[in-house]
């Protein structure tokens, strides 16, 4: 009984990390229908950025991430404005090819700069700190912060999307490009801003990725897969759905691992397939489209 309860708790906490991976992907797809195949590699790239900032400035990873945030926002804005905007149009293939190429460039660039060694963000005592819940169950402080971070990110994204003029512009642009321009919206800027926001979410995901696990230049594609599965499980177009999708994936992996450690990854994929079969539009699909 304790074992199951523990698996559930750890699964939900792991789900927080997957939700963070997925939130940026969900945002980008929601606003501009861009499937960013480099998303996982961008998370790893951001983790390396935080690592470098932390080492060079002698900062704690949390402070380093804070320093990296505006830089990554600007990088995301520029990437979209200069490169990805050119790939968007009626044809879905160009953005897929360009982000796939970007993924290869990032992986190999990181290999060149940092070698294939695994890295980790070091944050002293907090890494191993845990809170005992009694009954032999304890929750790690970093996993708990990860889940809280995911919830906070989703609350903030929802506030931006549903309470601000920028969010109105995001949703309107996603609905109807031509009419959005009639509203005076410069869609190139709106897309670039969306990518900037996605990059800040990527930076937060990278922080917790680096605190919880080792990462190396080739860690990206697996992160993309989890993010993709979480978005699809949750249903496109809903941030809370993305959180739920991350948690479903985390739970499936943790429970699978309890049955047999080799089943961890497989169970996550099976849960994803089950959702696709039973609810092809995800758990919380958007009302229209």
């Amino acid at each position: 009984m304790t074992g199951l309860l523990d698996a559930l708790i750890q699964g939900v906490l792991l789900g927080g990390l997957y939700a963070l991976f997925a939130a940026g992907l969900s945002l980008i797809f929601g606003v501009m229908r861009l499937v960013n195949l480099a998303h996982g590699d961008l998370i790893v790239l951001a983790a390396f950025v935080i690592l470098v900032v932390a080492e060079k400035l002698g900062l704690d990873p949390f402070a380093a991430a804070l320093v990296a945030l505006p830089v990554l926002f600007a990088a995301g804005f520029a990437l979209q404005y200069v490169l990805l905007n050119r790939t968007l149009g009626r044809d879905l293939l160009p953005p897929l090819l360009v982000t796939f190429g970007l993924s290869i460039i990032i992986q190999n660039g990181l290999l060149q700069l940092f070698s294939a060694d695994s890295q980790r963000l070091r944050s002293g005592a907090i890494e191993t700190a845990s809170i005992a819940l009694g009954g032999g169950i304890a929750i790690g402080v970093v996993p708990l912060l990860t889940l809280l971070g995911a919830v906070l990110v989703i609350v903030i994204l929802n506030l931006i999307f549903y309470r601000t003029p920028l969010g109105r512009a995001f949703r309107a642009t996603s609905d109807d490009l031509d009419v959005a321009q009639l509203m005076g919206i410069d869609i190139r800027r709106v897309f670039a801003t969306a990518m900037g926001v996605a990059f800040t979410v990527i930076a937060i995901a990278a922080l917790y990725l680096g605190l919880r696990a080792n990462f190396d230049p080739t860690s990206g594609p697996a992160r993309l897969l989890y993010a993709f599965e979480a978005v699809i499980i949750g249903g496109l177009g809903s941030f809370w759905g993305t959180l739920a999708g991350g948690i479903v994936l985390g739970l499936a992996q943790t429970i699978g691992a309890r049955i047999d450690p080799e089943w961890q990854i497989l169970s996550g994929h099976l849960a994803f397939l089950a959702v696709l079969v039973l609810r092809p539009r995800g758990l919380f699909p958007r009302a229209q489209d």
């Binding site: 003029p165 109105r168 512009a169 949703r171 321009q181 009639l182 869609i187 958007r286 229209q288």
Partner: protein, 233 residues
């Protein structure tokens, strides 16, 4: 001086030429009706002015400034708002958000605000939080007009605002036009319902196969002239 002037305006859909050298003008405070059969180029004319027809040629001058090559977002900021054919509200936005987004990018002092739009179309206030697709066609048309007004445009372009609506609803919508005009806004209406258009317009342009076939004041035009301009000889 004319608020808007087009000279030799031409527009294309790929290889297909939709407008052949349209010379037209709209004076401040004037209401112009554009009539013509399906495919005559009426909507294309509005889209070319609004900046939605890249590759159009000729000149479009608004308030002394050439805007022919401006993208739609820049045209809107100068004070031209288009109510697109088929209303095209944003389905993910509530009615009130649809109105607000009309004014988000052009916050100029002017006669129109959320309150004034609600006063013009009271039903929108009742349904302000409703999901857009749940509104009737007439209500959606009112919201689309309100959304365009929220930017306090100096020129309002309306594309087929009576299309697909019941006569009683059309009357409601057309009743709003004099109140829009009273604020000094110039209006260009594309309209298939000739009688309706003639009632509100100061001047009429008739299009035929991408060319201007007739221009004049409604009272000075005979049925025969209009018939010929509309259908060809």
């Amino acid at each position: 001086m004319a608020l808007l002037e087009t000279r030799n305006l031409q527009a294309f859909y790929g290889d297909f030429q939709a407008l052949y050298g349209i010379d037209s003008h709209v004076d401040t405070g004037e209401t112009i009706a554009i009539i013509g059969a399906n495919g005559a180029g009426k909507s294309t004319y509005l889209k070319a002015i609004a900046g939605l027809m890249p590759g159009s040629a000729g000149s479009v001058v608004f308030d002394g400034q050439p805007i022919g090559s401006h993208p739609a977002a820049a045209v809107m900021k100068l004070g031209i708002a288009l109510v697109p054919e088929g209303r095209r509200l944003f389905p993910s936005l509530t009615i009130e958000e649809n109105l607000l987004i009309g004014g988000d990018r052009r916050k100029l002092p002017g006669p129109w605000s959320l309150q004034r739009v609600y006063a013009l179309f009271p039903i929108l206030k009742e349904r302000r939080s409703a999901a857009t697709p749940t509104l009737s066609g007439g209500q959606q048309q009112m919201a689309a007009i309100g959304r365009a007004l929220m930017s306090n445009p100096r020129l309002l372009l309306c594309d087929e605002i009576s299309l697909g609506l019941a006569p009683i609803i059309i009357a409601d919508i057309y009743a709003a036009l004099p109140r829009i005009k009273a604020e000094g806004t110039s209006v260009v209406l594309v309209e298939q319902d000739i009688a309706q258009a003639m009632k509100v317009a100061d001047r009429v342009y008739c299009f035929q196969e991408g060319r201007l076939s007739l221009a004049g004041r409604p009272r000075e035009l005979t049925r025969d002239q209009i018939h010929r301009a509309y259908f060809g000889a």
